[in-house]
Symmetry: D2
Subunit: 261 residues, 4 copies
């Protein structure tokens, strides 16, 4: 029998379950929290205590945003199929894409690209990189990690996240570059856009060693927690039908502009 | 403007983000791990340290199962749409239903039903309840929480989970009823079916105070971590196309038995 | 190489594509419409012209319902991930479950069960079966196929669907039993509940020979068309953000009833 | 009450259901097939008989491809959650993205871009446009609509699709440009890549007047039919567990290359 590949994610024998080289029962349960387990599954090793604190902080910061379009999609899906909770959670995650939370992936990609092209990691070099990243952005492009529709002044999570990263020795060149990029972008454009938490998440996950390619996946796990919070509330105090009736009444039917000939 | 409902899950003002009555930046980030955050979102309060240890232990125990049908669905979905990681995670969660992991929900429902009908919580009363639960099961019905396709002897996670619950004072009547139910079921049927970890998860989550209705949701968050682990591996060492070619070759096309008339 | 199974759904060789025993290019393209293709894929033969007319009529009748919870879920998902249209369509389908459109499956199951237990298919026998189906329904259970939240008098699709089925010789015992079941249910309960179109769809699909187990699947294809109609409109005249802002404002945040101790 | 928008997709009153300006019961059921309904929902008018023939031909050609990664994802999802058919269909659609079927969207975009920049629609002008489209493609980029992993010679659907379009007067500048683009691409690269059916679908849908932005959506409806065909077969002759066991055995667990330090 030829093999099609190999996996280190997990495997079982009659009396043992392995995950990324560790014995699940002996080495992981009771020692790792859910964030650590996600770290293990993706990075293929458990985090240090310092990494764990910062990684879990990022996950917690991103888990919920109240009544978002995604939370509404999850709740409206639950309304139609309450017996299939997995469908409602899935529907809530499917809107985590280019527009919503995509900024974390974009920022991670930007700062990973930037740090990779930096000749040195001192302040001056990172400033040069920030300049060149700005030069490379197409005119009118969205600035990754800058601005927020609600938190116009400062995103309330930014300070605590960077402080957490610093306190645990995980504030590295990607975070530094992200802050410099924001500063220079504002200077160049004459704006005062705050850094946003999704961008900070992307930068911190980069300093923790995660490729930008999996950043969206990590945030999806955190958001799954948020979705389940909304669905638990929907089970006890449903708003789905009320939301639907309200919107149905406010998006009236009218014939198309280009009628049938 | 009339309100359609209210939410305690989360909400934002210009300078503050609230989640279940707590200030996200001040009270939660840096203090809670991802499992604690899920607990907060669903139970509407942070767990105690004891509850956190047990809850995270359950989540970790359920997060991954290696190459499951769900992991394959996630990887095959990634093969076709690698630019939309959220779709692959969602596809992986959609198969967490009645058959796979449904046993945790069923066990939680069983033991919550049982404890609710117990007149007392001493051993004799729980034995009576276990008998009556067995009596109520339709003939030939699957026994919730018993048996495992691979771990025929003892599920390697059971001991560590119950020990963890006991050590942290979270081993309560639902767990006790579950063990008694298993014992009596085996006695009645002349079998030696081990308790399985999904069933234990359902019982422990019941002792932690969660309704059986949201148990599936809690496990979905844990499994989301597993899916992202598989997708991170698929990004670096893909098996999707190889799996597809292999299966395509081994499920050949043949005309239907009932041909076109 | 051992086989894992066989499929008649479809298969390709270098110069030919087969589907359920037919050559796709030679026998199907240009001869079958999309509804016929769905019939072929599920029933493993092309429909007759009579069956095609009725089957397509059912599909058309169920394809859209305006601004439903599902359509909203699809649109809100598109808002967050416009680059992944497949995710928005999927989100829209995930709420087609027990509550929404589940009635078609339930009705199909009811009348298939009924016709199977009928000793004869004359009117008197079907009346007896209708009585016994009503007897078997748990007290207070939803009556499959009866009643509609908007169309209190008569569902505007019922007449045209049954007329279509009759005209094409596809109005059989399942439709007859469904009408008798509705009549007797109303008589017994002293109500005037109209038959609904989802129920009629279930009955007609039963007369066309489809198992109740696949009825939901057939309707999902029709609804996928509806979802794509909504998403095409969302691309040109988006309402997603406006809906979200409106609802966010009308479901305010408030702390939970059970505060953190 | 302020409006949030308006929809022409559909709407209901007590005794009437409207869809894109038509009365569903009076004007559409019994007159339109499922493909026509999709055309109506997206184009906001019913197709002519000629358009209907070609549009349905395209949908039929794309509906199924046998045991694809998507069909496997759908079947494996059904294995875990057979009670939620909508989840299995959704899982099957989620892998219709950039890699699988994305070529139809890309080809539609290419030829719509090309026809828009053509100064005239005669052969010479279209040749010029094809040249300039080729010039604009980044070096090494995939050629939209060319090549097929199985049908190395000629895709068996291409001839029948173009013949159908020609016969019904729907073979227009987008199809012509697509054929010229293919010819010139092969000449320039010294290859003999055949046009593929997904590309032809994109070109024909363009000549039918659909924006490239909704092409993926249209194909998703067709593919939903294919998914339901696979799931109907999975209900009767399941392969899910066998596929899983086979793959699990052939993708063995091994510890990660970068072990826990």
């Amino acid at each position: 029998m030829t093999w099609l590949g190999q996996t280190s994610v997990g495997g079982s024998t009659v009396d043992r379950i392995m995950v990324q080289g560790l014995d699940l029962s002996g080495d992981v349960i009771g020692r790792a929290n859910l964030g650590d387990m996600l770290f293990l599954l993706v990075a293929r090793r458990l985090p240090t205590a310092e990494e764990s604190a910062v990684f879990n902080g990022v996950l917690v910061s991103i888990a919920d945003h109240g009544i978002t379009p995604n939370a509404l999609a999850a709740r409206l899906t639950y309304t139609g199929a309450p017996e299939a909770l997995q469908g409602a959670v899935a529907a809530g995650l499917l809107g985590i894409g280019g527009v919503i939370l995509g900024v974390a992936e974009e920022t991670a990609r930007l700062v990973q690209d930037g740090v990779a092209r930096a000749t040195d990691l001192d302040d001056a070099s990172l400033d040069d990189v920030a300049e060149s990243l700005l030069d490379d952005l197409p005119a009118g492009a969205r600035l990754p990690g800058l601005g927020h529709p609600i938190h116009k002044g400062e995103d309330p999570r930014i300070g605590v996240l960077f402080t957490l990263a610093r306190r645990h020795g995980q504030y590295g060149p990607h975070c530094r570059l992200f802050e410099r990029f924001g500063e220079q972008a504002n200077k160049r454009l004459g704006l005062q856009l705050p850094l946003n938490a999704a961008g900070a998440a992307g930068a911190i996950l980069s300093d923790l060693g995660f490729s930008w390619k999996i950043v969206r996946g990590i945030l999806l796990v955190a958001r799954a927690a948020g979705m389940v919070g909304h669905l638990a509330e929907e089970q006890e105090r449903p708003i789905g039908w009320a939301v639907w009736r309200e919107i149905e009444g406010r998006v009236p039917y009218g014939p198309p502009d280009h009628p049938d000939a």
